[in-house]
Amino acid sequence: MVVRRVLAAGRQILSGILRWNWSQSTMTILFFAHLRGATGCAETTLARSEMTTEQLWDDLIAEYPRLAAFRRCVRLACNGEYVGPDARFRANDEIALIPPVSGG
């Protein structure tokens, strides 16, 4: 009886930990300028714990096909810094899609 209760408690704690870990594995993707028009939103999240730039584009274009036309003129930034095509993203990264800029 005691054993069963201990096991049940252990399972609850374990599933709590797993749920907590799962909710940590997301990345935020930000869209700017005309990309917002192309996607219909300013940001989205991807439930991933790690990702390459190829995978990022595949996921985004699957969800927002109109992004495909802009792929080659968009630079990627991760946590506020430009990254190259061989970047690897991790959980909780903030990734921004930067189309050609026009400040000043």
């Binding site: 700017f32 028009g37 036309a69 080659r72 810094e81 921004a96 800029v101 026009s102 400040g103 000043g104």
Partner: protein, 548 residues
């Protein structure tokens, strides 16, 4: 250098005090104002959007980098976000320095960098001001005009920044060494082993132990280049070696055959020798050492190095794909005789020769002078092109149809007119990642636009995003005063003399003048309103002859 950076929704004050320091002899202020459009739409405001988390650190990083080459004491940058009305400043930059030269230099360089790297955008041009309590920008709002509109005619720097910001490096691919000339390497070239991989002789002679003090040796073996015959050598033994031969052991030296007297199988060293006739293992490179960094352009020497490393399928930028449409009823193929009123098409030859220097072979078509011809050609175009060059039909006049046709086929016009001669009616447009240039019909304008702006696109696509090839030389003849409102690119020929590069401006009567083109290998870049320049005056120029 002290830096103050601010992004704000509020108006930038009219009066901003310079920092209080008695060290500054120069205080410069620049305000970037929102202009009303000239031809076409009249706007009342621009709407600015920023990625604030990144914009501020990027501005700071740019200034810190520029501080290394421009000795300036204080910079204050204020950029507005949100709606900015015509006539108001969207950007303010204040620079304090000991002397004006460094301040002007930093300001100009900073503006160039801002327009390429800082994540701030003009997202809308408004034709009426929103009500004070208007809701924040929603992405589904219809935009009243195109993104990245440059109101008014563009300067050469603005054009270059616009073009570069729209071109990111193309994908990389593996190719054979023979096809890699002129491409940019996208992976490091790493020595797979020590270079050379073992000690080698650099002369014909005899290898003996370094620690041997004998002067007479018995020749026990002979090694030719390409042979591998390792062995131990005694103090009095020598091995005959040819130039390039692998030495049979470590710690040997080589005596030149001219320095020995040889008799049967014995040699006597006549002259004491130094250690220099051996290429030691690893002397040129060590295993794992990077010999070419990614981002380098591959020329003949680089290809030879890759061959020596066995990198016969290097990872390089893919070549861009170009479609060239030559419009105009007045042009005929060069091998035909033009009828009265017609001319031979020289622009197609100019375009293909220019692109050939980049290893790019364009698809070229002549289309008649009508919107239909151009529209049909653009609609029939395959999706795989990176660049469309449209020759002719760019002039703003009653026959101007290129911008309209581009817009009908889904392009956004980024540049409609320039403040540069030649090349005033240049068009730059984009559809997705496809870039289009509408080049003014005359050959000199083609020459300038190809070598200045199209070149910038090709460089970025090749992966050379930071390259700038402008340099300075000295005029060998005078140049008259420039147009008050327009910069000039003056075709020229450069020569290298002992102390400096001398630049000879070539005679140039009008934009249709081809005769100077045959001699031109440079373009002198003169600012708007420049005074007459005398022989001996230093000028900035862009070389156009160099193999990319």
């Amino acid at each position: 250098m002290e830096i103050e950076i601010q992004l704000t929704n509020s108006a930038i004050p009219d009066l901003l005090a310079p920092p209080g320091s008695t060290a500054w002899g120069a205080w410069l202020e620049f305000r970037g104002l929102v202009r009303e459009l000239e031809a076409g739409q009249s706007i009342v405001a621009l709407d600015y959007e920023a990625y604030e988390r990144m914009a501020v650190p990027t501005l700071r990083r740019i200034l810190e980098e520029l501080a290394a080459s421009h000795k300036v004491g204080f910079v204050r940058v204020i950029h507005r976000i949100g709606v900015v009305a015509v006539g108001e400043a969207a950007l303010y930059v204040g620079v304090a320095s000991a002397h004006r030269g460094e301040g002007f230099g930093l300001l100009a360089a900073f503006m160039d960098r801002l327009k390429v790297d800082v994540p701030i955008w003009k997202t809308r041009a408004l034709t009426s001001l929103p009500l004070p309590q208007s809701s924040p920008r929603a992405p589904s709002e219809t935009r009243t005009s195109d993104h990245c509109l440059r109101p008014g005619p563009a300067t050469a720097s603005e054009l270059l920044a616009c073009v570069r910001s729209r071109c990111t490096p193309l994908e990389s691919e593996r190719c054979n060494l023979a096809d890699a000339l002129g491409r940019v390497l996208r992976e490091p070239a790493i020595a797979p082993s020590d270079q050379p991989v073992c000690d080698r002789s650099t002369v014909d002679g005899y290898a003996v132990r370094r620690d041997s003090e004998a002067s007479t040796f018995r020749v026990v073996d002979r090694i030719r280049a390409g042979e591998w015959k390792p062995r131990r050598l005694e103090f009095d033994e020598a091995v005959r070696v040819a130039t390039g031969a692998a030495l049979p052991a470590d710690e040997l030296r080589v005596v030149m055959q001219e320095d020995v007297e040889s008799k049967e199988d014995r040699i006597t060293v006549l002259r004491p020798d130094s250690d220099r006739h051996v290429r030691r293992r690893g002397e040129e490179a060590q295993a794992g050492q990077t010999l070419i960094v990614p981002g380098r352009l591959l020329r003949a020497g680089g290809l030879a190095l890759l061959a020596s490393l066995g990198m016969t399928r290097p990872l390089v930028s893919r070549r861009c794909r170009v479609l060239h449409l030559a419009t105009g009823d007045e042009i005929v193929a060069p091998d035909l005789n033009p009828a009265p009123g017609q001319i031979r098409d020289s622009n197609s030859t100019l375009v293909s020769a220019f692109l050939a220097r980049w290893g790019v072979v364009p698809v070229q078509q002549r289309v008649g002078e009508s919107p239909t011809g151009l529209r049909d050609a653009l609609q029939a175009m395959e999706d795989s092109y990176d660049l469309v060059l449209i020759s002719g039909g760019a002039s703003v006049g009653e026959h101007d149809f290129t911008p309209a046709v581009l817009q009908e086929t889904g392009f956004e016009i980024a540049i409609r007119k320039t403040r540069v001669r030649p090349g005033k009616p240049l068009i730059v447009a984009q559809r997705g990642a496809l870039l289009a240039f509408g080049l003014p019909g005359n050959p000199l304008a083609h020459f300038v636009c190809l070598n200045v702006y199209v070149r910038a696109a090709l460089e970025n696509w090749a992966g050379r995003t930071n390259s700038s090839n402008s340099t300075f030389g000295v005029l060998s003849a005078s140049v008259p005063a420039g147009d008050r409102d327009r910069e000039t690119f003056w075709p020229a020929r450069t020569e290298h003399r002992e102390r400096a590069t001398v630049v000879k401006p070539l005679p140039w009567s009008s934009s249709g003048d081809l005769t100077s083109l045959a001699e031109a290998n440079a373009l002198i870049w003169l600012p708007a309103g420049h005074p007459p320049l005398a022989q001996g005056q230093p000028v900035e120029f862009l070389p156009v002859e160099d193999v990319p």
